[in-house]
């Protein structure tokens, strides 16, 4: 992840948001929320680029703007100002259905609380994103089983989320995020609800699948273990990127 330092006195010239080598490009992005009569500026004039195929981390205190930034990159929220480009697509050009389709094809999510659909089995949870992109039944089955096998849950395919442990649920969530082979996977505190041993194994798994699939991973996390595995580490404070450093595999 390459941060462009914000300098209020001399703003950087507006870069082209056309085809690029960056998986994610943000240019002078701001996001303001209104909570009652109070206006909260969650992100302030953020500009950054995240290269493809990297294992990147956003770190920062609670309320610093990590999740807001991930939401914008994940196209589930819209910037108040500035431009967001994901996989070469300026998301502002897309209407609601096109944004949904774009997410279905290009972005995978891993949530802190796993967010599996409780009425579906592990297999069906993993299969679900493939249905959203219209993959044929035979191919769906092949890829779903392959993905469950990759996360070590082939034997638990028929089990519902309430029959799985926290670690197993997160493995299903990882399989679900990766099964459609997205260009970008976003993970918001993926190990926060897991004990340290399970968190470590999940982290190892994510690193492994990222290496194998060469998918771009972007995390928001406090977890020191996770940070130590990151290629790019980005520090965010009060809605601004204040530091960028290269991590494990620069």
């Amino acid at each position: 992840m390459i941060a462009t330092p914000n300098t209020a006195a001399a703003p950087a010239p507006l870069p082209s948001l056309g085809a690029s080598q960056a998986a994610v490009r943000l240019h002078r992005v701001a996001r303001t929320y209104r909570v009652g009569a109070i206006e909260v500026q969650a992100l302030k004039d953020v500009s950054l680029q995240v290269p493809y195929h990297r294992f990147s981390t956003l770190i920062g205190a609670s309320g610093s703007g990590k999740t807001t930034l991930l939401n914008l990159v994940g196209c589930i929220d819209a910037a108040t100002s500035g431009a967001v480009e994901v996989c070469g697509q300026d998301v502002a050009d897309l209407d609601a259905d096109e944004v949904a389709d774009f997410r279905a094809r290009n972005i995978g999510f891993i949530f802190q609380n796993f967010s599996l659909v409780p009425v579906l089995s592990a297999y069906e949870n993993v299969e679900y994103p493939l249905l959203l992109v219209g993959i044929k039944a035979a191919e769906r089955r092949r890829r779903t089983l392959e993905m469950l096998d990759a996360v070590g849950l082939a034997a638990q395919a028929r089990q519902r989320p309430n029959e799985l442990s926290g670690g197993q649920k997160q493995r299903v969530a990882i399989a679900r995020a990766l099964v459609k082979r997205p260009q970008v996977v976003l993970a918001d505190e993926p190990t926060a609800n897991l004990d340290s041993a399970t968190g470590a194994s999940i982290l190892k798994l994510m690193r492994q699948v990222q290496t194998e699939s060469r998918t771009t991973f972007i995390f928001a996390s406090h977890d020191p273990q996770l940070i130590s595995h990151a290629d790019e580490i980005f520090t965010i404070r009060d809605g601004e990127i204040v530091e960028h450093r290269t991590g494990a595999t620069p």
Partner: protein, 469 residues
Amino acid sequence: MSFIAKIVFRNILRNRRRSLMTGSAVAAGALAMLLFGGYVGYIFAGLQTTSVQENGHLTVFRSGYFLFGPGNPAGYGIDRYRDVMGLIEGDPVLKPMINVLTPTQSLVGIAGNFSGTVDASKTFLGEGFIPSDRNRMRQWDEFQTGAAKAPDARLSDADSSQGLVGFGLARMLGLCAPLKLTGCPPMPAADTAGLHSAGKTADSDLVGLAERDAKEAGAPQVGPQLELLAATAGGAPNVVGLSVAGVERQGVRELDDNFIAMNLELAQQLVYGRGEHKATGIVLQLKRSEDMPAARARLVSLFKQHGLDLEIKDFGDLNPFYGQVVSMFSGIFLFISMVMGVIVLFAVVNTMTMNVMERTNEIGTTRAMGARAGGIRWQFVSEGMMIGVLGTAFGTAAAIAIALGINHAGLTWIPPGNANPVPLRVDIFGSPALMVGTWLALVLVATFAAFIPANRAARLSVVDALRHI
């Protein structure tokens, strides 16, 4: 099973108790609508059957009869009615539709019982018909209501002197004892004495005239004898004797107190005397009620073609009570349906709103994965529709079971306007429109009800939904 159907079905099972309560509300709605609708349908069929058995589907009158004729039936007779009947009978379009084609003669007059110790007289409304035709008409039961009547052997085509009177008229003319009627009190002595002394001379004349007519007709006197006095078409008084073969109760008290049924020939003799015999009406009973509009249109065209000044009335025109009952029960059915619809609407809205609230985070996750807003909307609408389908299916099954129980219990009731009990039935099977209509209406209400919270779910901000705990 498709993936969306799987999700929908499992989500319904996820909150079994809530889904069960909502489904029960839908089932109760279907049950109430089907049972009441079936009952109303049977009432309509029963009333129509009774009406058609008595009045046929269509009656041809001389123009103006319907408005002015009942006060002067003799003045509104159809000339050469047999030729008109021949015209109708010979028509290739009408012939296959007709079950019975028969003339009738209405009349008004005074009936007197001057035999033995009784001297009583009373105005009457008379109806003359061909007994064998009436018996055939009373066999008509297109809707299988079980209301077909056994032939009435008391009147016959061969013996024109016999007649039937309303129970109330029999009581007022002192016929209770001679006819051995139960529940019919004898006439007070004062009434008899008063009548006797006041009209003795006139009564004797009437008896003499009636006896002369009876001798001329060669009719045997079997039951108690009444003398019927009426004005002929020419305005002269005429008297005939009627041998009362029995009573025929009428469902409406006013009619029961005035009714006399007699052979057409006797009625014509009384109204037209020795002049040309006419008929007040020509009754057409059709094989199938659905042919009524076509038959009516054909009659109109036929009469126009032959320059006949005749008008046509259907059983609804002749019996406004039928239309009133249909309107009343239709109104009640509509009201019940609306109440049930509102209950189903609120039950489904409530359930689906709770489902959306409980699954807000799940909605956010699914939307983040790439589901379109329309997909979320469709999922929740499908859930409401599925609850509607299942609830209606259970309600329909329960209604069928209860209807079968009622229909086999041998219950009877006396419909308004009827004098005799008829079987009590709930006609669900005979009315596919009711079943399909109820099913569609409740499923549509449930679907529409689900649409409101489903739309809210579809419009949720993905970020807000993901934050929801």
